[in-house]
């Protein structure tokens, strides 16, 4: 369809494509429209939604999804996806807490150990993927199941319970908490530090994606890995690196969970991987790779946060949340599709 439209006025120059149209072909436009609509909607039916403290809560909810959505969006642009992210976050938190508790060392040693574990999980995911050439669905589904099992099994084996012992009295806890789970007062409102980490990650990811060689390679390996390899792009390294970036995001969120609650439930995290993927897809990342943006993933996460908390502020039953999320996913992707087609055909 796009082809037929394009060949017709073959001598037409680009000046006809104005700024508005350029904006409309951006990958995150569908999500942006959805976010604005949702924001107006909740502001209208629940005035409390507009209060600064409510917004801070919404942003906090968004950030816990958004931090992961950054990595997942990059990975999806690179043509793969990861089903193990939800439990990998918990694995990271468990590693830090169990390591420090079992060996009675400073919590920072555990935090660094967790970073190695998270990057290692990403590396193994990516390495198996490029070596076996199996679809990422299978590879990460396998790691998802194995990690879920390891989380439960090792926690019981080492700690003798399904949750980790509290780590609040271990050396270094307060400093680590200040970095991963404190809040900052802005205009009289407590804003969780994860919001700032989230925003920083989005900025760094956008910069990498649009303004560095690695970003070019990410789009290329997702768009057409064979073509990328043929012109000398290190496809294997790029893919493994993307999985490790997801691992890094998982580490940050894992550390937040650990220091916010002092203890970790080993069975948690299952199902969260879909929230991250949904945020990236709502944000305009193509499931087939090669298209999308980090900002889109952030807007997707913000939509999630608004829906999640907005339902509470509107005093609806939270049972409706899942339905709402599904509807948003469908609408945002349809809007993406329509807007893109229309902009390309002009």
């Amino acid at each position: 369809m796009a082809n037929a439209v394009l060949t017709a006025p073959s001598d037409e120059r680009v000046s006809t494509r104005n700024t508005l149209q350029k904006l409309l072909v951006r990958p995150e436009i569908g999500a942006l429209v959805g976010a604005v609509v949702l924001f107006i909607f909740f502001s209208a039916i629940a005035p409390v939604f507009l209060q600064p403290s409510s917004l801070a809560t919404v942003l906090y909810g968004s950030s816990t999804i958004g931090i992961m959505a950054v990595g997942v969006a990059l990975l999806m642009i690179g043509g793969e996806f990861d089903l193990s992210t939800g439990v990998a976050v918990i694995t990271s938190a468990l590693s830090a807490s169990m390591f420090s508790w079992y060996f009675s060392v400073n919590i920072w040693v555990g935090v660094l150990f967790a970073l190695v574990v998270s990057l290692g999980i990403g590396f193994i995911n990516g390495w198996i993927l490029v070596k076996t050439k199996l679809p990422s669905f299978i590879v990460t589904l396998a790691t998802f199941l194995m990690l879920a099992g390891l989380n439960l099994g090792l926690t019981r084996l080492i700690g003798g319970a399904v949750a980790t012992p509290s780590i609040s009295d271990i050396d270094g806890f307060d400093a680590a908490r200040a970095i991963f789970a404190s809040s900052v007062k802005i205009g009289g409102v407590d804003v969780n530090v994860t919001v700032f980490i989230w925003i920083a990650l989005v900025i760094v990811a956008s910069w990498v994606l649009l303004r560095t060689r690695v970003g070019n390679w990410i789009f290329a390996v997702g768009g057409d890995a064979n073509a990328a390899r043929a012109v000398g792009v290190p496809v294997t390294k790029t893919k493994i690196g993307l999985f490790m970036a997801v691992g890094f995001c998982g580490w940050i969120l894992g550390m937040h969970n650990l220091f916010a609650f002092n203890t970790v439930q080993s069975g948690e995290g299952v199902g969260n991987e879909f929230l991250y993927i949904i945020a990236a897809v709502i944000g305009g990342c193509l499931l087939t790779g090669g298209y999308g943006s980090a900002v889109g993933g952030a807007i997707g996460a913000f939509i999630f946060g608004m829906a999640n908390k907005g339902i509470v502020y509107a005093q609806w039953n939270p049972d409706w949340f899942k339905f709402f999320l599904g509807l948003m996913l469908l609408l945002a992707t349809i809007v993406n599709l329509i807007v893109k087609r229309r902009a390309e055909s002009k």
Binding site: T212, R213, A227, A228, V231, G232, G290
Partner: protein, 308 residues
């Protein structure tokens, strides 16, 4: 057979082997072979590539053309014979190594990433950067300018280098890939069936770029199964069949008719026609085969005319 002879006649005049100071070929293959397990994909292939010359590799599907270019482009390694770059024996481990040696391949189906803008495709894998350390970033404006200029020099007038390359026509995409290879200092350009999926007019456009690349002093390897495309632009012709070389000619030693006959296996076509006749068919298929045998002769003068 006559490979040795062609070797002697077409050796480069100005390029010297750094060790022996005798003239060398840009690329030369001698009795190169490759097998996958016990399947022999290629054997006994001898050919040479020089500056400003087009070496055509012709063969039907499964003749071993792809295996041959994969060896030259660094995607596979040969098991037998020798592959020399500037007189030096080499085995290329990756496409990157091939690129560093000045060998660039333009593939029919995987030349570009269609969702990416033209300028990003043009510089993919060899991006220009500015700044240092963590602030090293893409030099976007410079890359856009160069893309526009290089493509204009190849005669491609673009509206916008920001548009996804998938929106260009097949011929234009090939040309972007060729321009890219030329810009990045390729000495040898491998074109894998660049005209296979194109219409008559688009094919002509691509053939013209092949000649432009040749005139810029590149050694071109042009892979095709269409002798009518190969003959007007080629200087040397290597014919492959079932993984084996069945002929290596200079242009002056062969005519288009002979080339076509060898390619299609004229004897085989005649035999097929005979067989069909015996099976009792004045069927459409029989007529078609006969027409094809006749067409070999008919088409010849036309292509010759195009050359002059």
């Amino acid at each position: 057979m006559n490979a040795q002879q062609i070797d002697q006649q077409t050796l480069l005049k100005d390029e010297k082997d750094p060790l022996t100071h005798t003239p060398v070929h840009l690329l030369s293959l001698d009795k190169v072979g490759k097998h996958y397990g016990n399947v022999i994909a290629l054997r006994d292939v001898t050919m040479a590539v020089d500056n400003g010359r087009v070496t055509c590799v012709l063969g039907d599907n499964g003749a071993g053309k792809s295996t041959l270019i994969k060896i030259i482009a660094g995607l596979h390694q040969h098991d037998e014979g020798s592959f020399k770059i500037m007189g030096e024996d080499r085995k290329l481990g990756s496409p990157r190594e091939a690129l560093d040696a000045g060998i660039a391949a333009v593939y029919q189906d995987l030349a570009v990433v269609s969702l990416m803008p033209i300028w990003r495709n043009f510089f993919l894998g060899s991006e220009l950067t500015t700044g240092t350390g963590p602030f090293r970033r893409l030099d976007v404006q410079k890359m856009k300018d160069i893309t526009l200029k290089e493509l204009a020099e190849m005669g491609i007038d673009l509206r916008d280098v920001e548009q996804p390359i998938g929106q260009l026509s097949g011929g234009e995409r090939q040309c972007v890939a060729i321009a890219r290879a030329v810009y990045f200092g390729a000495k040898v350009l491998i074109l894998d069936e660049p005209t296979a999926a194109l219409g008559v007019k688009q094919s002509g456009v691509v053939l013209r770029y092949i000649l432009q690349a040749r005139d810029r002093g590149l050694g071109v390897i042009f892979i095709t199964h269409n002798p009518h495309h190969a003959f007007p632009v080629g200087d040397r012709f290597l014919l492959l069949k079932r993984g084996k070389s069945i002929g290596y000619y200079e242009k002056k030693d062969i005519t288009l008719e002979e080339l076509t006959a060898q390619m299609a296996g004229g004897a085989e076509l005649a035999e097929l026609a005979h067989e069909l006749e015996q099976l009792g068919g004045h069927t459409e298929a029989l007529n078609e085969v006969k027409a094809e045998v006749a067409g070999v002769v008919d088409a010849a003068p036309e292509s010759n005319a195009k050359r002059h």
